[in-house]
Homo-oligomer: 473 residues x 2
């Protein structure tokens, strides 16, 4: 909500704060303090050990790079992101290539340096900064199974849906009614308005501290579903933050685990729960109340059956952020393969467009030849130097499915509760098994302890089968 002209002053303030944080994180006496703490590690309780582990990881990340590399990287990423904003609309990969090469070169150098300090392969060092403990060797077999499963499954889902019709309705859905709907749903699923609020922004996000969590959405007059589903998504992030353990507040062990668990919480609310028949049966009367005049020409548009059909469409497409629950992981499989190649040096920046096209054809049967704007230039991540984050989106979907299956197994009547708009059972389970753990465990440990089995793809595959082929009978 900041006025545009405030950007420079805000950047100055943030830069000053980051500088102060960096000073603290790289204090000369920390090496001795960590050494002394390591000598006592055997006498520490698990949560204290977790604190030490998290502090040390941050310290290594903060101190591993020479100052001139940090500055060169920051400058190159800033220039590259600006160039990308200018060149993507004109589909100019050739113009962008020089910036991209520099970003990749410096990020490889940094990944190498981080990896050496952390005893990790370069790409693992990047992933580790987003999801501590996660390794390419864990990701690769999961993604290989998805690569084998998804293309055939997408075919099957598309055939299944050919028999269905959808009543579409373009409103108008007034902004203040959409906001009413968002606030109503947030309240029902347990968002704590004493410790958070909903605002409007160009792109939805979730930010803040656990006692003050801000989420945003945007409203389209002709389609309320984008706002509704993005609010469920961000509420998943928010509920995780709001329910982190207060006893460990302001300590590293009390922070949210990492990007994979975070994405799993948003996807659990948006996808696993939010697009289920049960949830939509709960939501349909609320939608009718939100839009008493919307879809007046055909009230079937707001029926649970129609909502379910509308919100579980499968449409292979080029753009990741517009992709659905089924095709979305395919976008990630491709990016994981390419970004690992870039960091390891087996893929050159100039060869990315061709590799992208080949990957998209293999996974979704779509070509991006000559269309880099909707191909390798579509995301801000790489232009901004963000390598290693993408896997979290697909891993989050796998974790969400596995956690949700575990709740259903523990509470066979879960979907009945959700159908009645009662989220207490889901809440209690998530609080006990995920939210209250903070950063005590690694992502893999957390998933295994919560669900009884290591992270796999079975729960996700079962979920897709039930929703997109059996249509949640």
């Amino acid at each position: 909500m900041m006025p545009e002209g405030g950007g420079a002053a805000r950047a100055e303030a943030l830069s000053a704060l980051r500088g102060l944080i960096h000073q603290q994180a790289t204090r000369a006496d920390l090496a001795d303090l960590f050494a002394a703490a390591a000598a006592e590690a055997g006498r520490l309780l698990p949560w204290q050990q977790a604190n030490l582990r998290e502090m040390k990881r941050e310290w290594v990340h903060a101190t591993a790079l020479p100052q001139d590399l940090v500055e060169a990287m920051s400058r190159a990423e800033s220039l590259s992101e600006q160039a990308w904003r200018r060149l993507r609309p004109t589909n100019d990969f050739a113009g962008f290539l020089g910036f991209f090469r520099e970003v990749v070169r410096l990020k490889r150098e940094a990944a190498q340096a981080w990896g050496e300090k952390l005893s990790l392969a370069p790409y693992d060092a990047l992933v580790d900064s987003f999801e501590p403990g996660m390794r390419a060797s864990q990701i690769a077999p999961l993604f290989a199974r998805l690569s084998a499963f998804l293309p055939g499954f997408i075919e099957k889902a598309l055939q299944r849906r050919e028999r269905e019709t959808i009543v579409t309705c373009q409103g108008p859905f007034p902004e203040e009614r959409q906001r009413w709907l968002a606030l109503h749903l947030m309240a029902r699923i347990g968002f704590d308005f004493h410790h958070g609020r909903l605002d409007t922004s160009h792109h939805p996000f979730c930010t803040g501290v656990p006692t003050d969590v801000r989420i945003t959405t945007r409203y389209h007059l002709g389609d309320y579903t984008e706002s509704m589903m993005s609010v469920l998504h961000e509420s998943g992030h928010a509920r995780y933050e709001q329910n982190l353990p207060r006893a460990w507040q302001d300590q590293p062990v009390g922070a949210a685990r990492g990007s994979c668990i975070h994405e799993s919480q948003s996807l659990l609310f948006e996808m696993q729960a939010g697009r289920s028949r049960a949830f939509l049966e709960f939501a349909a009367p609320i939608l009718a109340e939100a839009f008493p005049e919307g879809c007046a020409h055909d009230r079937r548009a707001l029926s649970p059956e129609n909502l379910f059909r509308q919100l579980t469409q499968v449409k292979p497409g080029l753009i990741r952020t517009e992709s659905d629950e089924v095709t979305s992981p395919c976008h990630i499989l491709l990016r994981f393969k390419l970004e690992m190649g870039l960091i390891e040096g087996s893929l050159r920046p100039e060869d990315v467009p061709e590799a992208w096209d080949a990957g998209m054809r293999g996974l979704l049967g779509l070509s991006t030849l000559g269309n880099d704007r909707d191909g390798c230039l579509q995301d801000v991540h790489w232009p901004a130097g963000m390598f290693g984050y993408f896997p979290a989106y697909a891993l989050g979907a796998l974790i969400a499915a596995q956690l949700f299956r575990a709740v259903r197994r523990a509470h066979p009547d879960l979907m009945e509760h959700i159908r009645r708009g009662d989220f207490a059972v889901l809440d209690t389970w998530l609080r006990d098994h995920v939210w209250s753990r903070g950063s005590l465990l690694s992502c893999a440990e957390l998933v295994e302890q919560a669900t009884g089995s290591p992270l796999g793809t079975e729960a996700f595959e079962e979920h897709l089968e039930r929703r997109y082929v059996q249509r949640e009978p």
Copy 2:
């Protein structure tokens, strides 16, 4: 707009930032640096000298008090403000007295210490922290003249108004229409929305940095004038901030002068310009557009003549924040006299209710005997340890009148411009004579250079005479 539960985390963050600022402001090497700078002062340009002067003043303020006094004062003020929030509603001065005594005792000690370092009397040291360079010896003769002038003038104004009728209208005035009105008026008087915005809060205020100025208002369904006038008031503060000299941005000399000049800018827009017949003739058609259905029973309510009568009512009352342009300074005269007595030691805290009653009877003919809630307990300032700020409200009114008279003398057709909704002439004059000066001059120097004469009460008295007796013929 922060959710209530975020208060503790916000307080922690602010406290950490203040601690860092204090560390910087009290660095051990500053004494030597100031000494070295003083040796070069003769070679500095005026704006450099101003920078040095402002930095040194802040440094003396930051370093004058022993740490234990700072902490004791902060604790006592916090406890006292909390007690006041609890005890004011029950009119319990006796219960509050213990807290009040402690706040006064510590503030006297602090004022003594500041005064010694700054070679100022204790009360002057407090005033100096809000309006650098302002002294009780400058304030006292001005307030003495107002004390002599106002009681008789209020009588005269009340008699003059007896012949006037006012058409009142209680709306309803929908919030979104009031907000439309506020934004429209802000835009017309030159608020820069690229560098600021309008929000809603319980009490109106203005905050931020010059490139990102936030003002707030609140909306009453039955009375749009409170929001409209408070928006003009805060816009005055905002326009000052937004037009501070960019060349000196982030330097002490580039900051707003002090509380008196700041209040003069808000009162210039709200009172001098905003309640003039010319402005209300400009505003009336906009009001009609804002409230097409408001006051439908009697559209005279939105006529310029009726607006002028409505917005220039004189009503002696007990509550300062509800007082009008004419009686408002009386509230300040009383507070100035009493708070100076408290800090100098000639007035004991337990004697304040009696002194308050005597003062109110003398100035406005109203008694507060047994009604401390609406008497000495009405403001948060003293309970929160804020002594020395009150004069700024009345001095701001005097400065606003003297500046506005100077603009009218320089541009005899000023009111014609305002009637047409053209504020360029006013803007240019204020930018040249006030806004662009930052903290280059003291308040007294700025007023004298801008208007050609030292700060006096004549312009304010003339203004009141013209508006409240002659009724702006």
